[in-house]
Symmetry: C2
Subunit: 408 residues, 2 copies
């Protein structure tokens, strides 16, 4: 399928006809066995329906949840900004399809002021959050740190003896939290032979080769990751760090990670709906990117962080999650669009004078909080390019323009 000829409008999954009809026509059926669910343009359907392709586990919400208040300002769709890679301004509305947006919610002072849905994505859709999941994991880990149950100065292998001798063996919990571990693992989504490929095979997110004899779950795979370099000297984004974090959390809590997430965040924050967490064949959470949730629940998480944790997440945790990481550790060449940023506690931190911080996942999943503007943006997308460098030129100026409009 000539996916590279399709733009945000022509790749609309309803227009493409994916999985429509009873049954869908043969050429419109997306098969996990062909990895259709992970290839553009099919991802425009699959990212809103991941549990139809892979095993999952419920992250239970409580029985009580209040709907978000609405104070819609349709004029916001017409605010204009200049993309980072362009000379001509465009409107927010125009930018949405260009960013392959599936859904967006903008909250100002806790009320939804702007809301758009595209394709097969709606308010009740559980859309995959990819690495936005990591910020939930990091927050939970920091909560255990705050309670004295997880020592950031201890070694990861103190909690997980299985990791002794692996690349994680002599890394501290803090290094895992801030992704300053030095691992023999490449996270290049465009390279099929990268570490992320072996990781994905172990996870089972995509079909394995017929003659595959490697690990079939994360706990078997993670100890095989070696070391390359010296821990603690720089931030390098590697998803296995998050899997190790979630593994520690489950080990400490003696519960499945999905239960911890439900009890410590989903229920107390009054999330509107259960989430779907992708699991590997051993039932272990795909904590590095497997959370599928309602967009408004992602916005709720952002609001909780913006408002100091709402008594659910300790303020010290919020402080570390939104002001952590070491800018000197950040790779300026790799992230030219994020100058002065840092990565800490599994959050992306702007260190700008507005206090902006973000949770980011491939293909455009975004939680963006601008405390100065009392604004939270939650966005799901299915951009053909995994790396967020592809949509940042549109998105970052859009959030800035929104913040300015809401602050005036």
């Amino acid at each position: 399928m000539a996916g590279d000829l399709l733009d945000g409008v022509t790749s609309d999954p309803v227009r493409m006809g994916w999985m429509q009809g009873s049954p869908p026509p043969a050429d419109k059926i997306l098969l996990a066995s062909r990895a259709d669910h992970m290839r553009f343009p099919m991802i425009r359907w699959s990212y809103s329906n991941m549990r139809q392709f892979v095993p999952s586990r419920r992250v239970a919400a409580g029985d009580e949840s209040k709907a978000l208040e609405r104070a819609i300002d349709e004029g916001l769709g017409q605010i204009r900004f200049v993309p980072l890679n362009a000379d001509e301004p465009m409107s927010l509305e125009q930018s949405l399809t260009q960013a392959f947006t599936d859904g967006i919610l903008v909250l100002h002072r806790g009320k939804v002021v702007f809301e758009r849905w595209f394709g097969v994505t709606g308010p009740e859709t559980r859309h995959i959050a990819f690495s936005v999941t990591k910020s939930f994991v990091g927050t939970l880990a920091e909560m255990l740190v705050e309670e004295g149950r997880l020592d950031p100065a201890a070694l990861a292998s103190d909690y997980l003896p299985e990791l002794t001798g692996s690349g994680f063996g002599d890394a501290t919990v803090r290094q895992v939290l801030d992704m300053t571990t030095a691992l023999d693992f490449s996270e290049d989504y465009a390279d099929p032979n990268s570490g992320i490929g072996a990781y994905s095979a172990a996870l089972g997110l995509t079909p394995r080769p017929v003659d595959y004899a490697g690990p079939i779950d994360l706990a078997s795979y993670l100890p095989r990751i070696g070391k390359a370099g010296q821990h603690g000297t720089g931030f390098t984004y590697r998803t296995p760090n998050t899997e190790v974090l979630a593994w520690m959390i489950a080990r400490i809590e003696r519960k499945h990670f999905a239960e911890v997430l439900s009890e410590r965040i989903w229920r107390p924050l009054g999330m509107r709906g259960d989430a779907d967490l992708i699991v590997d064949q051993a039932g272990t959470a795909f904590a590095g990117g497997g959370l599928n949730l309602r967009l408004e629940d992602l916005a709720r998480f952002g609001e909780a962080m913006r408002l100091g944790g709402l008594g659910v997440i300790p303020e010290a945790v919020v402080q570390r999650a939104t002001h952590g990481g070491e800018p000197a550790h950040f790779d300026r060449n790799r992230y030219p669009q994020l100058p002065g940023w840092s990565y800490g506690s599994q959050w992306w931190i702007s260190n700008n004078n507005r206090g902006c911080f973000s949770a980011r996942g491939i293909h455009g999943q975004t939680l963006w909080v601008d405390p100065a503007a009392e604004m939270t943006v939650a966005r799901f997308a299915s951009h053909p390019t995994a790396a967020n460098g592809a949509n940042d030129p549109l998105s970052l100026p859009a959030w800035a323009a929104l913040a300015e409009a809401l602050s005036s």
Copy 2:
């Protein structure tokens, strides 16, 4: 694993240690690729966690649901009855583990009077209902009949031209509803070469042989079922009838079966939680047995039927579902424990003077309604034997004793 040596107590999934730990020990991991999820004693864990093994789709509940009222009478556990195949009486409490019960709720006049949970099953568990699913499908089909949108006298192939030339081609909708179709399909769960084996392979509920080249979804498989005999002369329980019904429903409603079930039953009846519906690779519902739901939501469905449909299900539909089928069509030799019964509209009907009717699924899934006693029993189980003949000797007298106790 010597499953045949295990009883209801020793097969307890917590005691067995399935899937406990982060990660579980290698010999405690249940793998879909080995069909662990469909074999005793592993089913005592898997039937409460099916979405971790197979693709599924959400059946959405609405935002508002009231908890069932409780009026617990612990004395009910001590009521005694004589099993059909025994001389000595036993207590209800004793019978529960003997029937490999995972959960049971007894409602009297709409309030929960008795409640027990075992193993890994609890109030929030979505346990597989197996063929109890069929009674939801039959009820939805009768609702369309009542609205004049599905003609019981028409041919199935009038709605689904794909079935022309198949065993279903010249069967009427009513014959499909009441399972009086004459198909070349054996539903012997103990025979790996039966029709149910090919059906299961198409469905993908169990792993397919490596060299499998058969259909990979229900819509490709169902037209391949041939005819054997004459339609309308007798009731023979065959699950593909239900798949055809659900297919017709989806075709008429132009929606996924999960959406129809949500809109027409789950939301209006105020179900407490979303359900998980197993789907095949084309995303089509496994409507013959793939519903996973909270036990209290199953009880709610029974209560709705007992109370004339509660304005959600038309009374005429309730009447047909609870008084339908032709006793003369019922196979007395096959169901010696169900004398005088009939099967109609995908419900099991006792035709006794109490008006009892039931939804039944393999391995002990049961919804039992005794209108005379104003009683509804909902039970999940993971009995080692699929056929309900294995637990009826315990269950039928238990329900009768409960009804008597609640009526006195």
